[in-house]
């Protein structure tokens, strides 16, 4: 701190100090007084001040109080200011929100150490304002502009560290944009910077990681395999020594789980092992735990990646009503539909109607098979809109597609497959989001019904329709990912694993549900309830061997605006007032005693 005076000429008033001292010296000079006898001046009891024999200049407490009060008043009159080195530039803190920040050493995680360092910074060099940026899968600002540690602390509650990665580069870019290259940037992470020679003189990179061993589940999936579910679990040994572990799989969530799978793993350093097993499709949610093979424990730094929960995959089925007049063709279509595995057993309240008109039910999509009286066989080349869901994987190589040449494309229909200017497959979407597909096909003259493109087309059709059915598209995800929910327009309620309930307004469009925390989420939409699980799976974050600690770069103290001027005249004035009050009390007490 560098004090300076606004009105240094006021120091002239310091001359009052020797004046006061002179007054006291003259006042305290012993006046000679002759008395009849000293016998009455000898006391057995002496007062605190008076009565004592003195051989030196005696200055009472009042003198020093007056002297101090005068000095304080003179200093206050000079208008003193302190130049404080802090509180000059705003601070932007980039918080590594990745899972590895939860890695603990001696019970203290890197996040706790970083938080403590930030608090220490506020204690000794509090910035005027602070913005926090969470660097997870992407960078995002949290909280408002904080001015005190309590406000920062409140915003830090969102720093949970479950993300599978840290987009620190994006966060730094964001920090540069909102800080306009004027703010100091502090990165709190557990990794060293990509380039240890930091050229930015506004950037301080502080890492609080400790290289540690960790055995982790880095991948887990549960997918549909006919009537069964196929489960895949990948385990990695991110350590420099072999590790033994046991992978236990439990089914059920409420009661005591039944142990359905137990696999002993002997893993070499840096080895990744894969465990694949099948379970019945009717099995409830699975819990996969990675446990120690012996009583010595797993001895890894990150416990969060030793457990995953796998919910049943969503089996989407499309109710299809085939209303074709040509029984051979209908049979051909039915067989193709059955081969996709996406067709529901029921056909009531169909989701898709295959017929010879553009009419459809309330929510059903329509596939209108137009069979012309006079068809022309086209051998190509076909113009295919490969970006359309119906055309994915559709090649039509060597296929003959016969269709009516007189049929032209309606203005509302979007062609997907063309033969010259003849639309063979086109699509229209109405106001309610229903899709109307026109298939210009004469199956008698076409050969592509006998090519692999035929079931591909039907799979694309049903998959497209299934993807637009209300509900979740997946049941297992990773933290930070967005879960897509096909809404029916009704309000959606999402209950997070920590009990938080979020209400989303429904729309006839896919909703993206944020899932930052691991655990099971419950999504309620009308009478429909879905659940999905989020698991902390991140190979890059589970590997703690590259974690590091230290500081790189520092905020350069430039000449401009590096110090804040804080007036302190009021402080000296207040102190002088207190001293004068004490002086008054002493004087009043003396008078009362006298």
């Amino acid at each position: 701190m560098f004090p300076f005076l606004t009105y240094p000429l006021a120091l002239i008033a310091l001359a009052s100090l020797p004046a006061l001292a002179a007054i006291y010296l003259l006042r305290n000079r012993f006046r000679r007084r002759q008395v009849s006898s000293l016998m009455l001046w000898r006391f057995h009891v002496q007062s605190r001040e008076g009565g004592s024999r003195v051989n030196r200049l005696q200055l009472p407490l009042l003198f020093f109080l007056e002297l101090l009060a005068l000095a304080l008043l003179v200093i206050a009159a000079t208008g003193p200011h302190w130049k404080l080195p802090q509180a000059t530039r705003p601070l932007i803190v980039v918080l590594d929100d990745s899972l590895s920040m939860r890695a603990a050493t001696d019970g203290v995680s890197a996040r706790d150490r970083a938080r403590e360092a930030l608090q220490r910074l506020f204690r000794f060099q509090a910035p005027p304002s602070t913005r926090l940026i969470l660097a997870g899968r992407d960078a995002r600002l949290i909280g408002a502009n904080a001015r005190t540690w309590s406000e920062v602390e409140e915003a830090l509650e969102q720093w949970q560290c479950w993300a599978p990665g840290a987009a620190i580069e994006s966060a730094l870019t964001l920090a540069g944009e909102i800080g306009k290259q004027q703010a100091n940037i502090l990165v709190l992470t557990d990794q060293p910077p990509p380039d240890e020679r930091i050229a930015n003189d506004r950037l301080q990179w502080r890492a609080f990681g400790v290289p540690s061993s960790n055995v982790a589940i880095i991948n887990a999936a549960r997918s549909v395999s006919d009537d069964q579910d196929r489960c895949l679990v990948e385990i990695a040994n991110y350590s420099r020594s072999p590790r033994d572990a046991v992978l236990r799989v439990f089914a059920g969530s409420n009661a005591v789980p039944d142990r359905v799978q137990e696999t002993r793993l002997a893993m070499a350093p840096q080895e990744v092992q894969r465990v694949v097993f099948n379970i019945p499709g009717t099995a409830p949610s699975l819990e996969v735990r990675l446990e120690a093979a012996s009583e010595s424990g797993l001895a890894d730094a990150l416990a969060e990646d030793n457990r995953v929960q796998l919910l049943s995959p969503i089996r989407r089925r499309v109710r299809v009503q085939v209303a074709l007049t040509n029984p051979d063709f209908a049979d051909l279509v039915n067989r193709a539909l059955d081969a996709t595995g996406l067709r529901a057993a029921l056909s009531a309240n169909p989701d898709l109607v295959i017929h010879h008109s553009d009419f459809a039910g309330s929510n059903a999509w329509s596939l209108n098979v137009q069979s012309p009286a006079e068809a022309t066989a086209y051998v190509g080349p076909f113009v295919i809109d490969t970006s359309h869901p119906l055309a994915q994987g559709l090649a039509l190589n060597g296929a003959v597609w016969a269709g009516g040449a007189s049929l032209t494309n309606d203005a509302e229909f979007m062609p997907v497959v063309l033969a010259g200017n003849v639309p063979l497959l086109s699509v229209r979407e109405d106001m309610l989001g229903r899709q109307f597909v026109r298939l210009n096909l004469d199956p008698q003259l076409s050969t592509w019904t006998r090519t692999p493109d035929w079931p591909v087309f039907w799979y694309n059709l049903l998959d497209w329709r299934a993807s637009q059915l209300p509900g979740l598209r997946e049941s297992n995800a990773r933290p930070g990912s967005e879960i897509v929910l096909q809404s029916t327009g009704e309000p959606v309620t999402v209950r997070w694993p920590d009990g938080t309930v979020k209400l989303l307004q429904g729309a006839n469009a896919p909703l993206a549900i944020e899932a930052p925390l691991p655990g099971v989420y419950t999504v309620t939409m009308g009478s429909m309830t879905n659940r999905f699980a989020v698991n902390a799976l991140a190979p890059g974050e589970s590997n703690l061997q590259h974690a590091s600690g230290g500081q790189w770069g520092d905020w350069k103290a430039g000449a401009e605006g590096q110090y804040e001027q804080s007036p302190l005249a009021w402080l000296f004035g207040l102190a002088a007032l207190g001293i004068l009050t004490a002086h008054l009390c002493l004087v009043a007490r003396g008078r009362a005693g006298g």
Partner: protein, 288 residues
């Protein structure tokens, strides 16, 4: 003797014209004078009769009684005496305190008493302590004629008495004028003065500074008699303590006076004229 003191004697003489010394009955003895004594004497005031005894003056036989009763009786007449006043002045330096009127008041008071004694047909002697007690020169003359009245002795009253005590007349009235501010046993001093006296009056003459301590602040106190010095920071507590000491000392003298049959009064030098009532109160003076 300085002029101021002589002026004080003159002023005391003027004051004394208004007063007469009150002579107690026990003090009605002395040389032949004009005042009736306690015993039978040769005055013309009849006192009593008694039987004739051989050797009695035949001139005082009451022949009328002898004619009526055939018994010889002698007429007794009161004697006529001149009572005596001894004024004992403390001649120590403390009676001439700087900044006070103690010396002037002492002279004025002595002169007043001397004139009041004369008004009461009393003889007088003025004794001044110093290197022993000495009579003030010309003390039988009017006070302005006195010489050698000075307060410069470094000795206390007791010490002067040890060296040369005053020759005080028996059955005389004695008045001690002093500030009484010296360490010692008051009873011993008073017994010495009271011995053979008809009455003893003690007039404590204090300066205003003696009765009221100096102002607040740092003060170098100088003993007027010994020259001893001490430096004190005087505040309200010290002042209070001083007054307590003074009151205790005055109480000690008062107790000693009661014990010895003396009467004590305190007079402030600067307020002498207003303090003369105190002298009337102890029956030392009465209006002439």
């Amino acid at each position: 003797m300085n002029e101021e003191l002589r002026q004080a004697l003159h002023q005391g003489e003027q004051l004394g014209l208004r007063y007469a010394l009150q002579i107690p009955q026990v003090a009605a003895s002395g040389l032949v004078g004009s005042r009736l004594g306690r015993r039978a004497g040769s005055s013309i005031d009849f006192q009593d009769y008694r039987e004739y005894q051989p050797g009695d003056d035949l001139r005082f036989i009451d022949w009328g009684i002898y004619a009526r009763t055939d018994r010889l009786s002698i007429k007794l007449f009161r004697e006529e005496v001149t009572p005596h006043l001894d004024i004992v002045l403390d001649g120590s330096r403390s009676m001439n305190l700087e900044g006070s009127s103690k010396a002037r008041a002492a002279g004025e008071l002595a002169a007043l008493l001397a004139v009041a004694a004369a008004n009461a047909q009393c003889s007088r002697a003025v004794w001044l302590s110093g290197e022993g007690f000495n009579r003030v020169a010309n003390d039988t003359h009017p006070p302005p004629s006195w010489n050698g009245l000075q307060f410069e002795s470094a000795r206390t009253l007791d010490q002067s008495c040890e060296i040369l005590p005053p020759k005080l007349r028996r059955l005389g009235v004695r008045v001690l004028i002093s500030d009484l501010l010296w360490p010692g046993n008051p009873v011993q001093t008073l017994r010495r003065l009271r011995e053979g006296a008809a009455a003893l009056f003690v007039v404590q003459l204090l300066g205003r500074d003696d009765a009221n301590p100096p102002d607040h602040g740092s003060i170098r106190l100088v003993d007027s008699e010994t020259g001893e010095q001490t430096e004190l920071f005087v505040d309200s507590t010290v002042k209070k303590q001083y007054l307590e000491n003074l009151a205790q000392w005055q109480q000690a003298w008062d107790d000693a006076c009661r014990q010895c049959g003396a009467r004590l009064t305190t007079v402030i030098a600067e307020d002498l004229e207003s303090s003369l009532r105190e002298l009337e109160a102890i029956e030392l003076l009465s209006p002439a």
